[in-house]
Structures are given as C-alpha cells and as structure tokens.
C-alpha cells in the first residue's frame, strides 16, 4: 500500500477535489491541515519548496495541486 499524505487548508477547493478523487478510488491517505498545524506547514514548505495547497506526498514523490493524471499514474489508477 502506498504511503499518501495530503497537506490541505479547510477552504481549498483543490484539496477537496483531490480527497474526493482519493475517495472514489479507495486511496487511503493521511491529511495534515497546514492552517492549524504550523509544524505540518513547515514540513509542506520544506518538501515542496512553495506555499500553495494541496501538496500530495506519495512515497516521497511530491505533487503540487490537483494533478489528476499524475496522481492516477503514481497510484496505478486506470481511467
């Protein structure tokens, strides 16, 4: 099973879309809210070298934004 972490903010639409995508494909993930968790925020910035959300970490590969084709590729999700 892939180790998936998503860094989010509560009002971010792309975070919601990404989580909905995970839900549709039964992807288990850990969510870290960078608005309320400053350690998670620093972790996200360090990993992605930027401050936009969502950031998704799949086994160490970092994706910034809801990039559905890339997520599908990394998670072996067929169209």
């Amino acid at each position: 099973m892939r180790n998936v972490t998503i860094y989010t903010t509560p009002t971010c639409v792309y975070c919601k879309r990404t989580k909905a995508f995970f839900g549709e494909h039964n992807v288990h993930y850990q969510e870290k809210d960078v608005a309320s968790d400053s350690a998670a925020r620093e972790e996200m910035i360090k990993k992605s070298e930027q401050m936009g959300v969502p950031v998704i970490d799949i086994d160490g590969t970092i994706i910034v934004g809801f990039d559905q084709p890339r997520l599908a590729e990394l998670l072996d999700i067929k169209a």
């Binding site: 903010t9 509560p10 009002t11 971010c12 639409v13 792309y14 975070c15 919601k16 879309r17 960078v34 608005a35 400053s38 925020r41 070298e49 930027q50 401050m51 936009g52 959300v53 910034v64 559905q68």
Partner: protein, 324 residues
C-alpha cells in the same frame, strides 16, 4: 458515428451545471465536459447570497448541483476541450484523447483569472504569489499579506484571510473599493488589521526563491517598498472565448461572447451562459450564471425540437440515403 449527444455543455460551473439540470429535465441527451469542476463558484469560499442557503461553501454548492445533474442521467467527464468544428448543424468536439459529436453546443466555460503581467510573477507563483485566497490564504497564518484588487472578490478574500493572517494590505488601483456593502462592512470591522492603499498599483514583485517585497506605484509611509510574505491577486478574469471564436461566434466590444436575451449566439446551435458572456455586465454572480444556464438550456431545447436530427442529415449526408 462518434459519441453523439443532443447537447454538449462545455464547463461545469454554476452556469454549466444549471444548464445540465434543465436540459436533463427536458429529456435531452447531455454531456458536460468539465475542465475545472465548479468554476469560480467552487473557489469562492462561503456564499451567503444564493437563495435557499443562508451560508454555503462554494464547492459544496457545486457538488450538490453535480449530484442533481447526475441523478438526471447527465453524463459528465473531466477533460479539457481542445477543438470544436462545425459541419451544418453538427459539432465535433475534441476533448482529451476522445471525439464527441453534438447537435448543439453550450459554452459555459467561464473566464481565466487575470494576472498582473509583471516579470517574476510566474517564477514566484506558489512561492509568495497566489491567485486563490480560499486555497492558500490560510497557509499564511500569522504573516503579512497583500491583496490586489478593488472589487467584491478581493474584499471577500480579505475577510477570509483575516481569520488567519496578522496584517493585510489591500492594494486598489482606483479611487475606491467597490464591494457588496455587507462584505465591505465586515472588512471595516477588521480595523487596523487591514490597510487600504487606494490609487496604488504593484509595479514590481521582488524575490528570488520566494517573494520578498513589492514595489508600489505610490509610496506608503514614505517608501515605495512594501515587505509582505504573500501576494494575492484578485483583479478579475478574462473570458475563455478561443473555442467560441473558432466557430465564428461573435464577441461584444469587451471581448465576451455576444448573446441575445435567450442566450443564443449568432451561430445556429451555439449557446452561451455564465462568465463567458457579458449578459449582466459586470454583475457576475452564482445566481446570474445559473439563471443564464437555465435560459440557454431552454433555448437549446427549443432548437433541438426543430433541428434535433439534423446532425445526421448535415454531417453525414450519405446516411440519409439509408432512410430514403
């Protein structure tokens, strides 16, 4: 024949989804080709002026419309339309790696956020420069940010970001802020947390690995340099009209798709709704987009009653002989 639909709606924001609901209830075979699900509404944060909802998150509102569409059997795909061609009353749509055909097209494709057009802007996007305050505003907890734009969207952005950040400069090119009074009053109540810099624009974005400061057109406290951690741009949007133009759809003097009162364009079988049109001028709301979608779908239905089978007749004349 390729995948044929009575109506293909391009765009899945308030206009496109409302059009889908209406067209679905008219019994039309509808395909909605998404692009960015939810359009501007999904990014709007909390919405308090959509009738029936005292307060609703924009994404949740769009998700409810999507579910309502799906319950009517509307087919939705998430893809970017790259080309449309027309032959008689039949349209061929290229999206992703697939081809679709339709008797009618409804552009509900919205608009693209305007950028400042400054050097460094692209390089620093995500690294201090942002275009979605509902997404990235909360990342700036305890920091200082600037918001550029003098309209309702920027004031709503200020009000949202104020829940997280320490200080906000609202940079407004014009002489006044033009926002919905309820939102403006909320901003005023934030007191010193918000400073409004009128008749001021951002001349330069300075930074290498991340945003360091802005150079303003007018000095603030004796300096044209303004040190901020984040810059959010809310200066309106440019309508997505390239696909419409490729079909010969007429634009108005502002570059929006020109429509009549029933949301028909000058091209037979082509309709438009939402932010891609200027139907209600600068008043661009979820309710106006949804209303336009309903009207456009009704026009498409009226058109369908007359021309519903013409796609085959026009585009595939050889198939006519099969019925003669």
């Amino acid at each position: 024949m390729e995948d044929l639909h009575d109506l293909v709606i391009i765009g899945s924001g308030a206009a496109g989804l409302a059009a889908g609901i209406y067209a679905g209830r008219y019994g039309m075979g509808v395909l909605i080709i998404g692009g960015e699900f939810g359009g501007e509404t999904a990014k709007a944060g909390n919405i308090e002026n959509y009738p029936g909802f005292a307060s609703v998150d924009g994404y949740e509102l769009m998700d409810a419309m999507k579910k309502q569409s799906e319950a009517l059997g509307i087919r939705m795909i998430d893809a970017k339309v790259t080309a449309i061609s027309r032959e008689g009353h039949c349209f061929t749509i290229e999206a992703g790696d697939k081809t679709y055909e339709a008797n009618a097209i409804l552009f509900a494709i919205g608009a693209e956020r305007r950028r400042l057009g400054l050097s460094n802007e692209n390089e620093l996007t995500g690294k201090g420069v942002h275009y979605c305050v509902t997404c990235d505003g909360p990342v700036y907890g305890g920091k200082t940010i600037a918001m550029v734009g003098g309209g309702d969207a920027s004031v709503k952005g200020v009000n949202l970001a104020a829940e997280y950040v320490q200080k906000i400069f609202l940079i407004v090119r014009g002489k006044e802020v033009i926002a919905e009074p309820i939102n403006f009053e909320r901003m005023k109540k934030l007191g010193d947390k918000v400073e409004v810099l009128l008749e001021t624009s951002v001349k330069e974005i300075v930074g290498t690995q991340k945003l360091e400061k802005l150079i303003l057109s007018k000095p603030y406290k004796g300096s044209s340099e303004l040190v901020v951690d984040g810059l959010f741009v809310e200066i309106g949007a440019q309508p997505n009209v390239e696909l419409a133009k490729s079909l010969g759809v007429e634009l108005d003097e502002s570059g929006y798709v020109k429509v009549d009162t029933m949301m028909r364009t000058n091209v037979d079988g082509v309709f438009a709704a939402g932010d891609v049109t200027n139907h209600f001028g600068r008043f661009k709301q979820d309710i106006t987009a949804a209303a336009q979608g309903a009207v456009a779908a009704t026009s498409a239905y009226e058109d369908h009653k007359v021309h519903g089978d013409l796609c085959v007749l026009h585009a595939r004349p050889e198939s006519v002989s099969l019925h003669v």
